[in-house]
Protein backbone atom coordinates (compact mmCIF):
# COMPACT_ATOMS: atom_id res chain seq x y z
CA UNK A 1 0.00 0.00 0.00
CA UNK A 2 1.27 3.37 -0.95
CA UNK A 3 -0.55 5.33 1.63
CA UNK A 4 1.78 7.43 3.67
CA UNK A 5 1.00 9.52 6.60
CA UNK A 6 1.72 13.09 7.33
CA UNK A 7 3.62 12.10 10.37
CA UNK A 8 6.14 10.38 8.18
CA UNK A 9 6.25 13.33 5.87
CA UNK A 10 7.00 15.57 8.76
CA UNK A 11 10.03 13.55 9.57
CA UNK A 12 11.58 14.20 6.19
CA UNK A 13 15.07 15.52 6.71
CA UNK A 14 14.83 17.93 3.85
CA UNK A 15 11.86 19.66 5.30
CA UNK A 16 12.27 23.23 6.28
CA UNK A 17 9.45 24.98 7.85
CA UNK A 18 8.37 27.72 10.09
CA UNK A 19 5.04 28.62 11.48
CA UNK A 20 4.56 32.18 12.54
CA UNK A 21 1.85 30.97 14.77
CA UNK A 22 2.65 28.03 16.92
CA UNK A 23 -0.64 26.28 17.18
CA UNK A 24 -0.11 25.04 20.67
CA UNK A 25 -3.49 26.24 21.73
CA UNK A 26 -5.36 25.24 18.64
CA UNK A 27 -7.96 23.22 20.37
CA UNK A 28 -8.84 26.06 22.68
CA UNK A 29 -8.77 28.74 20.01
CA UNK A 30 -10.61 26.83 17.35
CA UNK A 31 -13.85 28.51 16.61
CA UNK A 32 -16.27 25.80 15.81
CA UNK A 33 -18.22 26.07 12.61
CA UNK A 34 -15.93 28.61 11.04
CA UNK A 35 -14.38 27.70 7.74
CA UNK A 36 -10.76 28.83 7.88
CA UNK A 37 -8.64 30.57 5.34
CA UNK A 38 -6.36 27.73 4.27
CA UNK A 39 -3.92 26.58 1.65
CA UNK A 40 -2.07 23.46 0.68
CA UNK A 41 0.35 22.52 -2.05
CA UNK A 42 -0.49 18.99 -3.06
CA UNK A 43 -2.87 16.20 -2.21
CA UNK A 44 -3.79 12.93 -3.85
CA UNK A 45 -6.33 10.23 -3.37
CA UNK A 46 -6.86 6.89 -4.98
CA UNK A 47 -4.23 4.27 -5.56
CA UNK A 48 -1.68 6.73 -4.26
CA UNK A 49 -2.80 8.82 -1.30
CA UNK A 50 -1.09 12.00 -0.21
CA UNK A 51 -2.74 13.94 2.56
CA UNK A 52 -2.67 17.68 1.93
CA UNK A 53 0.89 18.93 2.16
CA UNK A 54 1.93 21.41 3.42
CA UNK A 55 -1.41 22.35 4.90
CA UNK A 56 -1.93 25.58 6.80
CA UNK A 57 -5.12 27.12 8.15
CA UNK A 58 -5.54 30.47 9.81
CA UNK A 59 -8.47 30.24 12.13
CA UNK A 60 -7.91 33.49 13.96
CA UNK A 61 -6.65 35.60 11.10
CA UNK A 62 -2.99 35.47 12.00
CA UNK A 63 -0.38 34.50 9.46
CA UNK A 64 0.46 30.84 9.18
CA UNK A 65 3.03 29.51 6.76
CA UNK A 66 4.73 26.27 5.97
CA UNK A 67 7.18 25.07 3.42
CA UNK A 68 8.57 21.79 2.18
CA UNK A 69 11.46 20.93 -0.07
CA UNK A 70 10.05 18.00 -1.96
CA UNK A 71 7.97 15.24 -0.53
CA UNK A 72 10.19 12.35 -1.42
CA UNK A 73 9.39 10.36 1.66
CA UNK A 74 5.70 10.52 1.00
CA UNK A 75 6.18 9.45 -2.57
CA UNK A 76 8.50 6.58 -1.77
CA UNK A 77 8.81 4.47 -4.85
CA UNK A 78 6.96 7.13 -6.83
CA UNK A 79 9.66 9.66 -6.27
CA UNK A 80 10.69 9.44 -9.89
CA UNK A 81 7.14 9.76 -11.13
CA UNK A 82 6.02 12.83 -9.26
CA UNK A 83 8.66 15.50 -8.93
CA UNK A 84 8.16 18.59 -6.84
CA UNK A 85 10.57 21.34 -5.91
CA UNK A 86 9.58 23.74 -3.19
CA UNK A 87 6.06 23.73 -1.80
CA UNK A 88 4.83 26.67 0.19
CA UNK A 89 1.49 27.37 1.81
CA UNK A 90 0.46 30.54 3.59
CA UNK A 91 -2.79 31.79 5.03
CA UNK A 92 -3.96 34.75 7.00
CA UNK A 93 -7.15 36.77 7.31
CA UNK A 94 -8.68 37.19 3.88
CA UNK A 95 -5.73 35.71 2.05
CA UNK A 96 -4.31 32.31 1.18
CA UNK A 97 -1.69 31.26 -1.28
CA UNK A 98 0.29 28.21 -2.22
CA UNK A 99 2.99 27.57 -4.75
CA UNK A 100 4.71 24.52 -6.10
CA UNK A 101 7.88 24.74 -8.17
CA UNK A 102 9.42 22.32 -10.62
CA UNK A 103 6.34 20.20 -10.94
CA UNK A 104 6.38 17.03 -13.00
CA UNK A 105 3.45 14.66 -12.77
CA UNK A 106 4.64 11.62 -14.73
CA UNK A 107 5.75 13.80 -17.57
CA UNK A 108 2.05 14.25 -18.29
CA UNK A 109 1.94 17.65 -16.66
CA UNK A 110 4.95 19.85 -16.12
CA UNK A 111 5.38 23.40 -14.86
CA UNK A 112 8.14 25.55 -13.48
CA UNK A 113 5.71 27.20 -11.07
CA UNK A 114 2.10 26.67 -10.09
CA UNK A 115 0.79 29.42 -7.85
CA UNK A 116 -2.76 29.19 -6.55
CA UNK A 117 -3.97 32.26 -4.75
CA UNK A 118 -6.99 33.74 -3.11
CA UNK A 119 -7.32 37.23 -1.71
CA UNK A 120 -10.30 39.12 -0.41
CA UNK A 121 -12.79 36.76 -2.00
CA UNK A 122 -11.10 36.68 -5.41
CA UNK A 123 -8.61 34.19 -6.67
CA UNK A 124 -6.75 32.65 -9.53
CA UNK A 125 -4.00 30.47 -10.85
CA UNK A 126 -0.63 31.36 -12.28
CA UNK A 127 1.35 28.74 -14.15
CA UNK A 128 4.79 29.39 -15.58
CA UNK A 129 5.98 27.20 -18.43
CA UNK A 130 3.17 24.72 -18.00
CA UNK A 131 2.72 21.86 -20.45
CA UNK A 132 0.27 19.00 -20.67
CA UNK A 133 1.50 16.02 -22.67
CA UNK A 134 4.10 18.33 -24.13
CA UNK A 135 1.61 20.95 -25.30
CA UNK A 136 1.31 24.37 -23.72
CA UNK A 137 -1.48 24.55 -21.18
CA UNK A 138 -4.56 26.49 -22.19
CA UNK A 139 -5.30 29.94 -20.86
CA UNK A 140 -6.30 29.52 -17.26
CA UNK A 141 -7.75 32.96 -16.72
CA UNK A 142 -11.30 31.68 -16.94
CA UNK A 143 -12.17 29.69 -13.84
CA UNK A 144 -12.87 26.03 -14.38
CA UNK A 145 -10.87 25.47 -17.55
CA UNK A 146 -11.07 21.77 -18.30
CA UNK A 147 -8.93 19.63 -20.55
CA UNK A 148 -10.90 16.51 -21.20
CA UNK A 149 -9.02 13.44 -22.36
CA UNK A 150 -11.74 11.18 -21.08
CA UNK A 151 -12.22 8.46 -20.30
CA UNK A 152 -8.56 8.31 -19.31
CA UNK A 153 -7.73 11.75 -17.99
CA UNK A 154 -9.23 15.09 -17.18
CA UNK A 155 -7.29 18.10 -16.00
CA UNK A 156 -9.18 20.98 -14.44
CA UNK A 157 -7.37 24.28 -14.01
CA UNK A 158 -8.33 27.16 -11.74
CA UNK A 159 -11.49 25.56 -10.47
CA UNK A 160 -13.34 27.99 -8.24
CA UNK A 161 -16.20 27.53 -5.84
CA UNK A 162 -17.90 30.22 -3.84
CA UNK A 163 -19.03 28.83 -0.52
CA UNK A 164 -22.22 29.90 1.15
CA UNK A 165 -20.27 31.81 3.81
CA UNK A 166 -18.85 33.97 1.03
CA UNK A 167 -15.40 32.40 1.06
CA UNK A 168 -13.81 31.34 -2.21
CA UNK A 169 -12.03 28.03 -2.73
CA UNK A 170 -9.58 27.92 -5.63
CA UNK A 171 -8.20 24.57 -6.73
CA UNK A 172 -5.18 25.12 -8.96
CA UNK A 173 -4.76 21.88 -10.89
CA UNK A 174 -6.78 18.74 -10.47
CA UNK A 175 -5.74 15.76 -12.52
CA UNK A 176 -8.12 12.81 -12.51
CA UNK A 177 -7.32 9.41 -13.95
CA UNK A 178 -10.29 7.47 -15.32
CA UNK A 179 -12.51 10.32 -14.18
CA UNK A 180 -15.86 9.27 -15.46
CA UNK A 181 -15.62 5.76 -16.76
CA UNK A 182 -18.81 3.90 -16.04
CA UNK A 183 -18.47 0.80 -18.15
CA UNK A 184 -15.62 -1.68 -18.05
CA UNK A 185 -16.33 -2.35 -21.70
CA UNK A 186 -15.52 1.19 -22.72
CA UNK A 187 -12.82 1.09 -25.39
CA UNK A 188 -9.65 3.07 -24.96
CA UNK A 189 -8.75 5.39 -27.78
CA UNK A 190 -5.34 5.24 -29.43
CA UNK A 191 -4.26 8.29 -27.45
CA UNK A 192 -5.30 6.67 -24.22
CA UNK A 193 -3.48 3.47 -25.06
CA UNK A 194 -0.42 5.55 -25.78
CA UNK A 195 -0.71 7.04 -22.30
CA UNK A 196 -0.78 3.67 -20.55
CA UNK A 197 2.95 3.61 -19.84
CA UNK A 198 2.56 6.93 -18.05
CA UNK A 199 -0.34 5.56 -16.09
CA UNK A 200 1.77 2.54 -15.15
CA UNK A 201 4.40 4.88 -13.83
CA UNK A 202 1.86 6.94 -11.91
CA UNK A 203 0.35 3.99 -10.19
CA UNK A 204 3.50 1.98 -9.84
CA UNK A 205 1.62 -0.85 -11.46
CA UNK A 206 2.91 -2.60 -14.54
CA UNK A 207 -0.10 -2.45 -16.81
CA UNK A 208 -0.61 -4.61 -19.83
CA UNK A 209 0.30 -2.44 -22.78
CA UNK A 210 -2.24 -4.42 -24.76
CA UNK A 211 -5.14 -3.27 -22.60
CA UNK A 212 -7.95 -2.17 -24.84
CA UNK A 213 -10.78 -1.38 -22.45
CA UNK A 214 -11.33 0.46 -19.20
CA UNK A 215 -11.93 -2.89 -17.55
CA UNK A 216 -8.52 -4.16 -18.66
CA UNK A 217 -6.87 -1.16 -17.05
CA UNK A 218 -8.81 -1.54 -13.82
CA UNK A 219 -8.03 -5.23 -13.62
CA UNK A 220 -4.37 -4.47 -14.18
CA UNK A 221 -4.32 -1.85 -11.45
CA UNK A 222 -6.21 -3.91 -8.93
CA UNK A 223 -4.10 -6.96 -9.68
CA UNK A 224 -0.84 -5.12 -9.30
CA UNK A 225 -1.74 -3.09 -6.23
CA UNK A 226 -4.00 -5.54 -4.49
CA UNK A 227 -6.70 -2.88 -4.46
CA UNK A 228 -10.38 -3.16 -5.14
CA UNK A 229 -11.05 0.04 -6.98
CA UNK A 230 -14.37 0.17 -8.73
CA UNK A 231 -15.74 2.33 -11.49
CA UNK A 232 -17.64 5.47 -10.71
CA UNK A 233 -15.05 7.52 -8.91
CA UNK A 234 -11.68 8.56 -10.28
CA UNK A 235 -9.02 5.90 -10.01
CA UNK A 236 -6.57 8.56 -8.99
CA UNK A 237 -6.88 12.25 -8.28
CA UNK A 238 -3.96 14.59 -7.80
CA UNK A 239 -4.55 18.15 -6.68
CA UNK A 240 -1.81 20.74 -7.01
CA UNK A 241 -2.63 23.88 -5.06
CA UNK A 242 -5.75 24.78 -3.16
CA UNK A 243 -6.49 28.04 -1.39
CA UNK A 244 -9.54 29.26 0.47
CA UNK A 245 -10.09 32.80 1.63
CA UNK A 246 -12.82 35.03 2.93
CA UNK A 247 -13.43 38.61 2.03
CA UNK A 248 -11.64 40.86 4.43
CA UNK A 249 -14.03 43.29 6.00
CA UNK A 250 -17.49 43.69 4.57
CA UNK A 251 -16.19 44.12 1.08
CA UNK A 252 -19.39 45.85 0.13
CA UNK A 253 -17.61 48.90 -1.15
CA UNK A 254 -16.25 47.14 -4.17
CA UNK A 255 -19.29 45.12 -4.98
CA UNK A 256 -20.11 45.44 -8.61
CA UNK A 257 -16.86 47.06 -9.59
CA UNK A 258 -14.91 43.89 -10.07
CA UNK A 259 -16.94 42.94 -13.07
CA UNK A 260 -17.94 44.98 -16.03
CA UNK A 261 -20.86 46.81 -14.53
CA UNK A 262 -18.83 49.70 -13.29
CA UNK A 263 -21.50 52.23 -14.09
CA UNK A 264 -23.86 50.89 -11.54
CA UNK A 265 -26.51 53.45 -12.26
CA UNK A 266 -29.89 52.92 -10.80
CA UNK A 267 -31.50 55.22 -13.29
CA UNK A 268 -32.29 52.63 -15.84
CA UNK A 269 -35.56 53.40 -17.48
CA UNK A 270 -36.80 50.05 -18.58
CA UNK A 271 -39.73 49.49 -16.35
CA UNK A 272 -39.91 48.09 -12.88
CA UNK A 273 -37.12 45.63 -13.45
CA UNK A 274 -34.16 47.60 -12.35
CA UNK A 275 -31.45 46.61 -14.75
CA UNK A 276 -28.34 48.20 -13.35
CA UNK A 277 -25.18 48.59 -15.39
CA UNK A 278 -26.48 50.22 -18.53
CA UNK A 279 -27.42 47.28 -20.66
CA UNK A 280 -26.46 49.01 -23.88
CA UNK A 281 -22.80 48.76 -22.96
CA UNK A 282 -22.92 45.04 -22.33
CA UNK A 283 -21.46 42.55 -24.80
CA UNK A 284 -23.89 40.59 -26.93
CA UNK A 285 -24.84 37.27 -25.41
CA UNK A 286 -23.35 34.39 -27.41
CA UNK A 287 -25.32 32.06 -29.63
CA UNK A 288 -25.61 28.67 -27.96
CA UNK A 289 -23.35 25.73 -28.63
CA UNK A 290 -25.34 22.61 -29.35
CA UNK A 291 -24.18 19.93 -26.97
CA UNK A 292 -24.92 16.23 -26.70
CA UNK A 293 -27.24 15.44 -23.81
CA UNK A 294 -29.78 12.87 -22.72
CA UNK A 295 -32.73 14.73 -21.22
CA UNK A 296 -36.11 13.25 -22.12
CA UNK A 297 -38.44 16.22 -22.65
CA UNK A 298 -42.22 16.23 -22.69
CA UNK A 299 -42.48 15.81 -26.47
Amino acid sequence: MNTKTLARAAAVGAVTSVTALLLGNTAAVAQEDTFPDYAYGIAASGALTIDPLPYVASKDGKFVGDQLLGIGDVLGEHEDDIALGVLTAEAEAGKAETSVTELNLLSILRADLVRTWCEDGKGGLEIINGTLLGQPLPDTSVPGTKVDLSPLLTVTLNDQRRNSDGSLTVTGIELSVLPGATSPDEELSDEEKAALPGLSALLGAPLDAGASTVGDVLDGVNGALGTDIALGSPLQTITVGAANCHESGDGSSDDGSSDDGSSDDSGDDSGADDGAAGSSTLPAAPAPSIVAAALPVTG
Binding site: S17, A47, T49, D51, V56, E97, G299
Partner: protein
Protein backbone atom coordinates in the same frame (compact mmCIF):
# COMPACT_ATOMS: atom_id res chain seq x y z
CA UNK B 1 -14.15 37.96 -18.64
CA UNK B 2 -10.56 38.26 -17.84
CA UNK B 3 -10.63 40.27 -14.67
CA UNK B 4 -9.74 37.17 -12.83
CA UNK B 5 -6.49 36.61 -14.58
CA UNK B 6 -4.24 39.10 -12.97
CA UNK B 7 -3.06 38.02 -9.60
CA UNK B 8 -3.21 40.75 -7.06
CA UNK B 9 -0.05 42.28 -5.84
CA UNK B 10 0.53 39.39 -3.60
CA UNK B 11 3.74 39.13 -1.78
CA UNK B 12 6.02 37.02 -3.88
CA UNK B 13 6.45 33.53 -2.63
CA UNK B 14 9.16 33.50 -0.15
CA UNK B 15 12.17 31.55 -1.20
CA UNK B 16 13.47 28.61 0.68
CA UNK B 17 16.67 30.33 1.62
CA UNK B 18 14.84 32.97 3.58
CA UNK B 19 12.86 30.33 5.31
CA UNK B 20 15.91 28.30 6.03
CA UNK B 21 17.38 31.19 7.91
CA UNK B 22 14.41 31.25 10.16
CA UNK B 23 14.37 27.63 10.91
CA UNK B 24 16.80 26.17 13.35
CA UNK B 25 16.92 23.47 15.82
CA UNK B 26 13.24 23.55 16.62
CA UNK B 27 12.13 23.09 13.05
CA UNK B 28 11.68 19.39 13.15
CA UNK B 29 9.55 19.58 16.23
CA UNK B 30 7.44 22.40 14.89
CA UNK B 31 6.88 20.69 11.59
CA UNK B 32 5.82 17.51 13.23
CA UNK B 33 3.53 19.33 15.56
CA UNK B 34 1.85 21.45 12.95
CA UNK B 35 1.58 18.65 10.45
CA UNK B 36 -0.12 16.39 12.90
CA UNK B 37 -2.42 19.13 14.08
CA UNK B 38 -3.12 20.09 10.51
CA UNK B 39 -4.01 16.60 9.61
CA UNK B 40 -6.15 16.12 12.67
CA UNK B 41 -8.07 19.21 11.72
CA UNK B 42 -8.31 18.23 8.10
CA UNK B 43 -9.53 14.75 8.61
CA UNK B 44 -11.89 15.47 11.40
CA UNK B 45 -9.56 13.77 13.80
CA UNK B 46 -9.55 10.38 12.22
CA UNK B 47 -6.50 8.20 12.30
CA UNK B 48 -4.29 9.15 9.39
CA UNK B 49 -3.58 5.52 8.70
CA UNK B 50 -7.26 4.96 8.11
CA UNK B 51 -7.15 7.12 4.99
CA UNK B 52 -7.12 4.30 2.55
CA UNK B 53 -7.08 4.33 -1.22
CA UNK B 54 -10.05 5.72 -3.06
CA UNK B 55 -11.27 7.37 0.10
CA UNK B 56 -12.47 10.76 -1.03
CA UNK B 57 -11.44 13.19 -3.71
CA UNK B 58 -8.44 15.19 -2.67
CA UNK B 59 -10.26 18.48 -2.57
CA UNK B 60 -12.84 17.01 -0.26
CA UNK B 61 -10.30 16.17 2.40
CA UNK B 62 -10.73 19.44 4.17
CA UNK B 63 -13.48 20.55 6.47
CA UNK B 64 -16.77 20.48 4.64
CA UNK B 65 -17.15 23.71 2.73
CA UNK B 66 -20.22 25.68 3.82
CA UNK B 67 -22.99 25.08 1.33
CA UNK B 68 -21.31 22.15 -0.40
CA UNK B 69 -24.23 19.95 0.60
CA UNK B 70 -26.82 22.16 -1.09
CA UNK B 71 -28.56 20.88 -4.19
CA UNK B 72 -27.57 22.37 -7.50
CA UNK B 73 -30.40 24.23 -9.18
CA UNK B 74 -30.96 22.34 -12.44
CA UNK B 75 -33.87 21.13 -14.49
CA UNK B 76 -33.68 17.90 -12.47
CA UNK B 77 -33.98 19.37 -8.98
CA UNK B 78 -36.58 20.98 -6.74
CA UNK B 79 -35.34 23.87 -4.64
CA UNK B 80 -37.33 24.57 -1.51
CA UNK B 81 -37.56 28.15 -0.34
CA UNK B 82 -36.89 29.76 -3.72
CA UNK B 83 -38.89 32.98 -4.09
CA UNK B 84 -41.57 33.01 -6.80
CA UNK B 85 -41.24 35.22 -9.83
CA UNK B 86 -42.84 38.51 -8.70
CA UNK B 87 -43.59 39.70 -12.25
CA UNK B 88 -44.23 36.70 -14.48
CA UNK B 89 -45.73 38.87 -17.25
CA UNK B 90 -42.92 41.37 -17.46
CA UNK B 91 -40.19 41.43 -20.08
CA UNK B 92 -36.79 42.40 -18.72
CA UNK B 93 -34.21 44.50 -20.50
CA UNK B 94 -32.28 41.56 -21.91
CA UNK B 95 -29.56 41.19 -19.30
CA UNK B 96 -28.38 37.62 -18.94
CA UNK B 97 -25.67 36.27 -16.66
CA UNK B 98 -23.29 33.34 -16.77
CA UNK B 99 -21.89 32.05 -13.44
CA UNK B 100 -18.11 32.19 -13.67
CA UNK B 101 -17.73 29.71 -10.86
CA UNK B 102 -19.93 27.50 -8.76
CA UNK B 103 -21.80 29.91 -6.55
CA UNK B 104 -24.58 29.77 -3.98
CA UNK B 105 -28.17 30.70 -4.78
CA UNK B 106 -29.67 32.84 -2.02
CA UNK B 107 -33.30 33.53 -1.19
CA UNK B 108 -32.59 37.26 -0.90
CA UNK B 109 -29.61 39.62 -1.20
CA UNK B 110 -27.31 38.62 1.66
CA UNK B 111 -29.95 36.06 2.54
CA UNK B 112 -30.02 32.34 3.16
CA UNK B 113 -28.27 29.98 0.74
CA UNK B 114 -30.86 27.61 -0.73
CA UNK B 115 -29.00 25.97 -3.62
CA UNK B 116 -25.86 26.00 -5.74
CA UNK B 117 -25.57 27.23 -9.31
CA UNK B 118 -23.05 25.59 -11.60
CA UNK B 119 -21.30 27.29 -14.53
CA UNK B 120 -22.39 24.61 -16.99
CA UNK B 121 -25.59 22.68 -17.44
CA UNK B 122 -26.28 22.25 -21.15
CA UNK B 123 -23.11 23.99 -22.19
CA UNK B 124 -22.58 27.26 -20.38
CA UNK B 125 -25.34 28.27 -17.98
CA UNK B 126 -27.00 31.60 -18.86
CA UNK B 127 -29.87 32.96 -16.78
CA UNK B 128 -32.08 36.02 -17.23
CA UNK B 129 -31.74 38.81 -14.67
CA UNK B 130 -35.05 40.15 -13.38
CA UNK B 131 -33.77 42.44 -10.63
CA UNK B 132 -30.57 43.67 -9.02
CA UNK B 133 -29.81 44.86 -5.52
CA UNK B 134 -26.88 45.30 -3.16
CA UNK B 135 -24.34 43.43 -5.22
CA UNK B 136 -26.71 40.59 -6.07
CA UNK B 137 -28.69 39.72 -9.20
CA UNK B 138 -32.05 37.97 -9.12
CA UNK B 139 -32.36 35.33 -11.81
CA UNK B 140 -34.95 32.86 -12.98
CA UNK B 141 -34.02 29.33 -11.92
CA UNK B 142 -34.18 26.17 -14.06
CA UNK B 143 -35.31 24.02 -11.13
CA UNK B 144 -38.76 23.20 -9.81
CA UNK B 145 -41.06 24.63 -8.61
CA UNK B 146 -41.76 26.52 -11.80
CA UNK B 147 -41.37 30.28 -11.81
CA UNK B 148 -38.88 30.18 -8.99
CA UNK B 149 -36.05 32.64 -8.66
CA UNK B 150 -32.89 33.11 -6.69
CA UNK B 151 -30.17 35.64 -6.00
CA UNK B 152 -26.54 35.25 -7.12
CA UNK B 153 -23.55 37.35 -6.13
CA UNK B 154 -22.90 39.85 -8.91
CA UNK B 155 -19.17 39.25 -8.42
CA UNK B 156 -19.60 35.68 -9.51
CA UNK B 157 -21.32 36.25 -12.84
CA UNK B 158 -20.46 37.49 -16.29
CA UNK B 159 -23.06 39.72 -17.90
CA UNK B 160 -24.25 40.06 -21.46
CA UNK B 161 -27.34 41.23 -23.26
CA UNK B 162 -29.70 39.37 -25.53
CA UNK B 163 -31.80 41.44 -27.91
CA UNK B 164 -34.34 38.63 -28.32
CA UNK B 165 -37.60 37.64 -26.67
CA UNK B 166 -39.69 34.61 -27.60
CA UNK B 167 -43.47 34.91 -27.19
CA UNK B 168 -45.55 31.76 -27.09
CA UNK B 169 -49.31 32.21 -27.38
CA UNK B 170 -51.13 29.07 -26.36
CA UNK B 171 -54.58 30.29 -27.49
CA UNK B 172 -53.62 31.24 -31.02
CA UNK B 173 -50.89 28.60 -31.13
CA UNK B 174 -48.38 31.07 -32.45
CA UNK B 175 -44.74 31.61 -31.59
CA UNK B 176 -43.17 34.99 -32.20
CA UNK B 177 -39.48 35.83 -32.24
CA UNK B 178 -38.79 39.46 -31.32
CA UNK B 179 -35.52 41.30 -31.71
CA UNK B 180 -35.18 44.66 -29.96
CA UNK B 181 -38.92 44.61 -29.46
CA UNK B 182 -39.73 44.13 -33.13
CA UNK B 183 -41.16 40.96 -34.56
CA UNK B 184 -38.65 39.03 -36.65
CA UNK B 185 -40.90 36.15 -37.57
CA UNK B 186 -43.79 34.07 -36.33
CA UNK B 187 -44.90 30.51 -36.81
CA UNK B 188 -47.88 28.28 -36.22
CA UNK B 189 -46.99 25.77 -33.51
CA UNK B 190 -48.34 22.82 -31.52
CA UNK B 191 -48.75 23.17 -27.77
CA UNK B 192 -49.78 20.98 -24.85
CA UNK B 193 -53.19 19.36 -24.95
CA UNK B 194 -55.78 20.11 -22.30
CA UNK B 195 -54.76 17.23 -20.01
CA UNK B 196 -51.06 18.03 -20.29
CA UNK B 197 -50.91 21.78 -20.79
CA UNK B 198 -47.89 23.91 -21.57
CA UNK B 199 -47.26 26.02 -18.45
CA UNK B 200 -47.70 29.78 -18.71
CA UNK B 201 -45.43 32.47 -17.31
CA UNK B 202 -41.95 33.84 -17.78
CA UNK B 203 -39.24 31.30 -18.48
CA UNK B 204 -36.09 31.13 -20.60
CA UNK B 205 -33.97 29.17 -23.05
CA UNK B 206 -31.91 26.87 -20.82
CA UNK B 207 -29.89 24.96 -23.38
CA UNK B 208 -29.53 23.54 -26.86
CA UNK B 209 -28.77 19.87 -27.24
CA UNK B 210 -29.01 16.91 -29.54
CA UNK B 211 -30.06 13.48 -28.34
CA UNK B 212 -30.04 10.47 -30.66
CA UNK B 213 -32.73 8.78 -28.59
CA UNK B 214 -35.10 11.70 -29.23
CA UNK B 215 -34.76 11.77 -33.00
CA UNK B 216 -37.98 13.69 -33.62
CA UNK B 217 -35.87 16.85 -33.60
CA UNK B 218 -32.23 17.42 -34.55
CA UNK B 219 -31.92 20.03 -31.79
CA UNK B 220 -33.94 20.34 -28.59
CA UNK B 221 -34.19 23.63 -26.69
CA UNK B 222 -35.09 22.90 -23.05
CA UNK B 223 -36.75 25.73 -21.14
CA UNK B 224 -36.50 26.64 -17.48
CA UNK B 225 -39.99 25.31 -16.83
CA UNK B 226 -41.70 21.96 -16.36
CA UNK B 227 -44.97 20.26 -17.12
CA UNK B 228 -47.53 20.94 -14.39
CA UNK B 229 -48.99 17.48 -14.92
CA UNK B 230 -46.01 15.27 -15.70
CA UNK B 231 -43.77 15.03 -12.65
CA UNK B 232 -41.61 12.82 -14.80
CA UNK B 233 -41.76 12.02 -18.46
CA UNK B 234 -39.84 9.32 -20.29
CA UNK B 235 -37.34 9.16 -17.45
CA UNK B 236 -36.82 12.93 -17.45
CA UNK B 237 -38.09 15.50 -14.94
CA UNK B 238 -40.90 16.75 -17.18
CA UNK B 239 -38.85 19.54 -18.70
CA UNK B 240 -40.74 21.56 -21.29
CA UNK B 241 -38.80 22.22 -24.49
CA UNK B 242 -39.05 23.79 -27.90
CA UNK B 243 -38.34 21.35 -30.72
CA UNK B 244 -39.54 20.42 -34.16
CA UNK B 245 -41.69 17.48 -35.14
CA UNK B 246 -41.56 15.09 -38.09
CA UNK B 247 -45.13 15.73 -39.31
CA UNK B 248 -46.42 19.20 -40.05
CA UNK B 249 -50.09 18.43 -39.46
CA UNK B 250 -49.81 19.01 -35.70
CA UNK B 251 -48.95 22.69 -36.05
CA UNK B 252 -51.82 24.92 -35.06
CA UNK B 253 -53.25 22.46 -32.55
CA UNK B 254 -52.98 21.49 -28.89
CA UNK B 255 -51.71 17.94 -29.08
CA UNK B 256 -48.40 17.70 -27.23
CA UNK B 257 -47.49 16.45 -23.77
CA UNK B 258 -46.48 20.00 -22.88
CA UNK B 259 -43.65 20.77 -25.26
CA UNK B 260 -43.75 23.42 -27.92
CA UNK B 261 -43.43 21.92 -31.40
CA UNK B 262 -42.27 24.31 -34.07
CA UNK B 263 -41.56 24.05 -37.82
CA UNK B 264 -38.03 23.24 -38.85
CA UNK B 265 -37.25 26.75 -40.08
CA UNK B 266 -38.36 28.14 -36.72
CA UNK B 267 -36.07 25.75 -34.90
CA UNK B 268 -33.17 26.81 -37.12
CA UNK B 269 -33.66 30.41 -36.05
CA UNK B 270 -34.40 29.70 -32.41
CA UNK B 271 -31.28 27.55 -32.08
CA UNK B 272 -29.26 30.70 -32.78
CA UNK B 273 -30.91 32.71 -30.01
CA UNK B 274 -28.72 33.16 -26.91
CA UNK B 275 -29.38 31.06 -23.85
CA UNK B 276 -31.06 32.99 -21.07
CA UNK B 277 -33.37 34.71 -23.53
CA UNK B 278 -36.85 35.09 -22.08
CA UNK B 279 -39.67 32.88 -23.29
CA UNK B 280 -43.01 34.46 -22.37
CA UNK B 281 -45.86 31.94 -22.46
CA UNK B 282 -49.43 33.21 -22.22
CA UNK B 283 -52.97 32.16 -22.99
CA UNK B 284 -53.52 34.69 -25.78
Amino acid sequence: MSQHTAPPKAAPSKGPSRRALLTGAVVGVVVMFVAVLGFAFFSGGSDPAATGPSAVAANELGPAAPGADLLASTTFTTIEGAPSDPNPDQVNDGIVVHPLRETPVYDAPNGQAIARMEPTQFGDTWLPVIAEESGFVQVLLPSRPDASTGWLRADDVERARTPFVVNVHLGSKQLELLRDGKRVDSWSIAVGKQETPTPTGRTFLLGAFSDPSQNFSPVILPLGTHSPTHDTFGGGPGTVAIHTWPSADAFGSAVSEGCIRVPADALDKLAEVPLGTLVMIDQD
